[in-house]
Amino acid sequence: MKNNFDFERIWESKRALRRRLATAPIIEKLRMLDALHERAVAIRGARFREATAVQEKPGRYGDRKEKTS
């Protein structure tokens, strides 16, 4: 299988994006920082919930209910 990715172009476009972001007006950058912060908090919150949430014991599928007389 032939690799059609031009990594030089990919790296160059990444560098160009970083340069553009670095020279963006400060207010625009601070807005981005706010958005990144909200996302980071949300991700951290989700990880925290995963770690501490009360979990149900997984059901034993296939178990039959006890018969009641």
Binding site: R18, R19, L21, A22, I26, L33, H37, R39
Partner: protein
């Protein structure tokens, strides 16, 4: 809020550092908190510097405390005393920046990189590298700071490891 604190004499001088401070020179990177370096007003009859006056002041404005942080406008802000020669120097040489007409004070790129170099965690090293790659540093000024604060060996190691 920070300007108001300085104006009201709660702190002597402040400057924004860390990733938020770096945003003035680099592309924004995700961070969870804001580092604010401060010089305290000298407290009479005490050699222990306490952040309590800052917390008390900010509580009056409805700011909440979260451990070591004060939450201001949704951001956890950590007030860090500019202790040690490098941080004191960095704070003395901090620059005024304009944020849509609101003045703020930020550490210069060279001091932010030097502080990161001194701190030396993985994310600090990444930050130094970012400054270099973005050509955001005045290398002469940066190397003067590195030399003045005995960081030459650390800088050489860093260069050897990441730059050369």
């Amino acid at each position: 809020m920070l300007n108001q604190m300085e104006h009201d004499g709660v702190i002597k001088r402040y400057a924004i550092g860390g990733a938020v401070g770096a945003t003035f020179y680099l592309e924004p990177v995700s961070t969870l908190d804001v580092d604010v370096f401060i010089a305290f007003k000298p407290q009479q009859e005490s050699i222990i510097v306490s952040p309590a006056p800052i917390f008390d002041y900010l509580k009056r404005f409805g700011c909440k405390m979260e451990g070591e942080y004060v939450v201001i406008s949704g951001w956890p802000v950590q007030f860090l005393p500019a202790s040690g020669p490098l941080l004191e120097d960095a704070l003395d040489n901090a620059v005024e920046v304009d944020v849509e007409g609101v003045p703020a004070r930020d550490l210069t790129a060279e001091y932010l990189a030097a502080v990161a170099l001194q701190t030396g965690r993985a994310k600090d090293k990444a930050s130094v590298l970012q400054f270099i790659e973005a050509e955001a540093l005045d290398r002469t000024k940066f190397e003067e700071i590195v030399e003045r604060h005995q960081l030459v060996d650390r800088w050489r190691d860093f260069e050897r490891q990441f730059v050369e």
